[in-house]
C-alpha cells in the first residue's frame, strides 16, 4: 500500500486558555493545508479523531462542527473514537478511504480540549476508556491500570523503578528540542522518584499530562499526489487490532497483545520487519507504556524493555530512537490528537525538517493505544 502525505500541521501543546476546541483544530488544519500547498476545493473529505468532546466540552456532533468551522461545509466529515487511539484510528480510516478509491485528497485531524473542565472530572473521563461496570465503578483509575501493569512487569522481569523513570527523563530531554511540546525542562531520575505518588509504583512524572492540542495531516492517493509534490513521504503500512476492554481479562498483564497484532499487520503491509524501523513515536501515556511498546513492536525482546531504556537503545542517538518528539509524557497528550501528532513527528523526521531533534531515518513508525490496550494502531512511514 502507498498513500502520500502532502502536508502536516500541529498546534502548540499545553494549556490553551484562550483557544476553543474548534479554534485549535482549525489552526492545525490550516497549517497542514498550507504545508500541502493545496486549495480548499481540492479537499474531498475530513476525518477527525477525538476521544470525549462530549464529556470534556459537552459537545457532540463534532464532524459537523469541524467542517463548519473549517469552511468546508459541503464535504463529508466523519468523527471516529477509540479512546486515546482516536487519532490513529482517524488516520487509518482516511487511509482506507483513499485506498478504496473513494477519495483522492483527505484532511485528517485529531483534537482534544481537556482543560475546560476540572482535574477530577478529567480523571473520571479518562477512565471511561476502561470498563465502567467492572473496573471504574469498583474504584479503578486510568493511572491505576498502568500502575498494575508496571508492578507485574517489575515482578516478572526485574524491571526497576529507576528504569521506568528513565523513560520520562529521556522524553523530557527530547521535548526540549520540540517547539510544540508542553514541557520544556529536563528532569532527573530522582525528580521522577520524588514526585507525588499517583498510583504506586507510578508517580506524577511517570504520567502524561492533561493537554489541549490538535494535529492534522493531508493525505492523497499516490497518483493525485504527483500534482502537488515530487517527493512526498508515504504511509506504506497500517495495522489495527483489538483486545479485551478490561485489563483483568488479558492472557498476560504485561503484554499488550493488540500492539503485537497491529504491528504484525503493519509490517506485513509495508513488507518490512521490526528491525527495519529506524525511528518510532510510541504511546507512552505512562512510562511503563513505552517499555511495553518497544517490546510489543519487536524492537527488543519481551521483558528487556527496561534494560534497553537504561542502556540508551531508545535514546536519540541509540539503535532505535523512540519518542524524539518528547512522547506523550513531555510533548503532551491531548488524547484524540495524539495519533496524528505522532504522524506529524515521524513525517517531519523523514523529511529532514526536525531541527535539533533530527535523526537519520528512512523508515518510521507510529504506535497509538486506546485504553489499557483494548485498541492498538500502528502505521509505517517511508521516504
Amino acid at each position: 500500500m502507498k498513500v502520500a502525505v502532502l502536508g502536516i500541521g500541529i498546534t502548540k501543546f499545553g494549556e490553551q486558555w484562550e483557544s476553543s476546541f474548534s479554534n485549535i483544530f482549525v489552526e492545525a488544519g490550516s497549517k497542514a493545508i498550507q504545508d500541502a500547498n493545496i486549495d480548499g476545493k481540492d479537499i474531498e473529505a475530513i476525518y477527525v479523531g477525538t476521544m470525549s468532546a462530549g464529556r470534556f466540552i459537552d459537545q457532540e456532533h463534532i464532524n459537523a462542527l469541524i467542517a463548519d468551522q473549517a469552511g468546508l461545509n459541503s464535504i463529508p466529515s466523519t468523527r471516529v473514537e477509540a479512546a486515546c487511539a482516536s487519532g490513529g484510528l482517524a488516520l487509518r480510516q482516511s487511509i482506507m478511504a483513499i485506498e478504496s478509491g473513494m477519495h483522492d485528497v483527505v484532511v485528517t485531524g485529531g483534537v482534544e480540549k481537556m482543560t475546560d473542565t476540572t482535574m477530577s472530572k478529567t480523571t473520571r473521563t479518562l477512565v471511561t476508556a476502561a470498563d465502567q461496570e467492572w473496573e471504574a465503578f469498583l474504584g479503578m483509575t486510568f493511572p491505576g491500570l498502568y500502575a498494575m501493569i508496571a508492578r507485574r512487569h517489575m515482578h516478572e522481569f526485574g524491571t526497576t523503578r529507576e528504569q521506568l523513570a528513565m523513560v520520562s527523563v529521556k522524553n523530557h530531554r527530547n521535548a526540549k528540542n520540540n517547539p510544540f511540546a508542553q514541557f520544556n525542562m529536563e528532569i532527573t531520575v530522582d525528580d521522577v522518584l520524588n514526585s507525588p505518588k499517583v498510583a504506586d509504583p507510578l508517580t506524577l512524572l511517570d504520567c502524561s499530562p492533561i493537554t489541549d492540542g490538535s494535529a492534522c495531516i493531508v493525505l492523497a492517493s499516490e497518483e493525485k499526489a504527483k500534482e502537488f509534490t515530487d517527493s512526498p513521504i508515504y504511509v506504506t503500512g497500517s495495522g489495527q487490532a483489538s483486545s479485551t476492554l478490561s485489563l483483568h481479562d488479558r492472557e498476560q498483564i504485561t503484554v499488550i497483545d493488540s500492539t503485537c497484532n497491529a504491528s504484525k499487520e503493519a509490517y506485513r503491509r509495508a513488507n518490512i520487519t521490526a528491525s527495519d524501523v529506524q525511528i518510532a513515536d510510541v504511546h507512552d501515556a505512562f512510562t511503563i507504556g513505552e517499555i511495553l511498546a518497544i517490546e510489543g513492536l519487536g524492537f527488543v525482546k519481551k521483558g528487556e524493555g527496561g534494560k534497553a531504556t537504561e542502556d540508551g537503545v531508545t535514546d536519540k542517538g541509540g539503535r532505535i530512537p523512540v519518542n524524539t518528539s518528547g512522547g506523550l509524557k513531555a510533548k503532551g497528550h491531548p488524547v484524540g490528537a495524539t495519533g496524528i501528532a505522532q504522524a506529524v513527528e515521524i513525517v517531519s523526521q523523514l523529511r529532514g525538517d526536525a531541527g535539533k531533534r533530527q535523526v537519520n531515518a528512512d523508515i518510521g513508525l507510529t504506535h497509538n493505544v486506546g485504553g489499557s490496550g483494548g485498541t492498538s494502531i500502528v502505521h509505517i512511514f517511508e521516504k
Binding site: W134, P143, A147, M148, R152, L247
Partner: protein, 131 residues
C-alpha cells in the same frame, strides 16, 4: 451510576455469580452473554464462584476519580479466583504496604460507593487478605 445499571449486576456484585460454558467448560467473571471461545455454539449457565483467590498485581490509588467520595488512598488489585477468572477489586482490612503479589485473599461484602448524600448506596465485593 444509574439505579437500573447497578441493579442488573447486583447478583454478581453481591455473590460472585459468573457464567460457565457447558460446551468448553470455561468460566467467566464478570458474567458474559456469549462464550468468546465457542461463540454461537456455546451455552452459558450461571455459576457461583468460590470466594478465594490470589493477587496477580496491585496498586495504591492516590488520586481517585470524581464522585468516589472518600479521598484516602486505597488498594486496588487484580485477583485471580481459584475457579479461574480474574477480576478487579479493592483490597481492604490491611495496611497500604501490607500486601504483595501472590497474597491469598477472600471476598467480603462491603459498601462500594454512594450517589451523593441522598442517593443510592451501592454494595458489592471487596477482598481481604487470608491469614
Amino acid at each position: 451510576m444509574s439505579i437500573p445499571r447497578f441493579w442488573r449486576h447486583n447478583k454478581s456484585r453481591y455473590n460472585l455469580i459468573g457464567t460457565r460454558c457447558v460446551k468448553c467448560d470455561e468460566t467467566y467473571f464478570p458474567p458474559r452473554k456469549l462464550c468468546p471461545k465457542c461463540r454461537r455454539k456455546g451455552e452459558l449457565e450461571d455459576v457461583n464462584l468460590k470466594r478465594t483467590g490470589e493477587i496477580v498485581t496491585f496498586t495504591v490509588i492516590r488520586n481517585p476519580s470524581e464522585g468516589w467520595g472518600n479521598t484516602d488512598p486505597y488498594i486496588m488489585a487484580i485477583v485471580k479466583l481459584d475457579d479461574g477468572p480474574s477480576l478487579t477489586t479493592q483490597i481492604v482490612d490491611c495496611e497500604l504496604d501490607g500486601i504483595e503479589i501472590g497474597q491469598r485473599v477472600t471476598k467480603v461484602f462491603r459498601k462500594i460507593q454512594e450517589d451523593g448524600d441522598s442517593g443510592l448506596i451501592h454494595y458489592g465485593f471487596k477482598f481481604k487478605p487470608l491469614d
